[in-house]
Assembly symmetry: C2
């Protein structure tokens, strides 16, 4: 598939290091066909990013599943996104293209606002159920969580201790859930969330 | 100053978008002089990153100041780094070059290991003074804090709510200090830290 070929090359060589000719060689499609469908390398990068967004319906379904307590849902969603950013080539290409966005002549959409809205809604639900600690303001906390989560996903490989994203996210949730839960028991919530996503 | 000129251009146009000729025009030095001193654009980028590291002795001095409680020191250091990443052109160039590191043929040093070590030492000191919450493991928590802090610095401008880094860091510390302090009083600690750096 063309977008997957492009994603592979963007992950390996970055946007500037990948030409439409490279993508043609790698995918077996002619450059002419690529230009016919995508017009330019910018538009192709944009299509890869949009493809990344399209791979998240399972997460959205999970988000809508009734019966899972909201803070647990938040943890489960974070595992899902982190797993996709670690294992899915289109998601990894999207992340690398975003990091290189200033060198790309196209406005790349980002998931951060959607993440922040989803987290705000879940924290608000937790508040209504009496499960959010007093003094935590849902929308401010949601933005903070999204920023921190982004940093964890991006930096994990560059830091000492050789933790993978799973262990790194565990450490993060153990620490922050203590502040978020009205009745703190981070280890128990984390164990339930891990069981749901078979981690 | 040549490195500052280069830093300005790297911040504005990125590494790939900046040529040695551009830096020559902007700095008033000849390309020949630039090549004579730095050999290549890669080496020049490396020199900018090293210059960034050299601008942190004030932070190191603060780090060594006796009499400031360790968790408060951690907060003060985060304000110092965030301020420099927001206001100092060389620090901003360093951050952008790091984001574009895969496209640069030089191994750029990063501050993350040093930050994680500093945070580990401060959390260990807090533990010895009885000021760190039970169950918080200094080195694991330090790595988590560095990752989250990095995410806050990078993403703040891309998220809703229009918070600047000051407010964003406040929100973050209010949330996480509740988990870190043996005797939680985040607002008071934050107020003392802000007073120290005149924020």
């Amino acid at each position: 598939m063309l977008l997957e070929s492009a994603a592979h090359l963007f992950v390996e060589r970055g946007y500037a290091g990948t030409s439409v000719n490279d993508i043609s060689d790698h995918s077996g499609k002619t450059s002419g066909a690529i230009y016919f469908h995508y017009y330019s390398k910018e538009k192709l990068a944009l299509a890869v990013v949009r493809e990344q967004f399209a791979t998240w319906p399972q997460l959205a379904a999970l988000y809508a599943t009734p019966g899972i307590p909201p803070l647990e849902k938040l943890v489960v969603l974070s595992f899902g996104v982190a797993r996709s950013l670690s294992e899915d080539v289109v998601a990894r290409a999207g992340a690398r293209l975003w990091a290189e966005r200033h060198g790309i002549e196209a406005a790349l959409p980002t998931p951060f606002n959607a993440w922040a809205s989803a987290a705000t809604r879940l924290l608000t639900q937790a508040r209504m159920r009496g499960e959010l600690a007093a003094g935590v303001e849902p929308s401010a906390a949601a933005v903070t969580l999204v920023c921190a989560f982004f940093g964890l996903c991006v930096l994990t490989d560059d830091l000492p201790g050789g933790r993978g994203w799973r262990e790194q996210l565990d450490q993060w949730w153990l620490l922050i859930l203590k502040s978020l839960q009205a009745d703190p028991d981070p280890a128990a919530l984390l164990a339930r969330a891990r069981a749901r996503v078979s981690l």
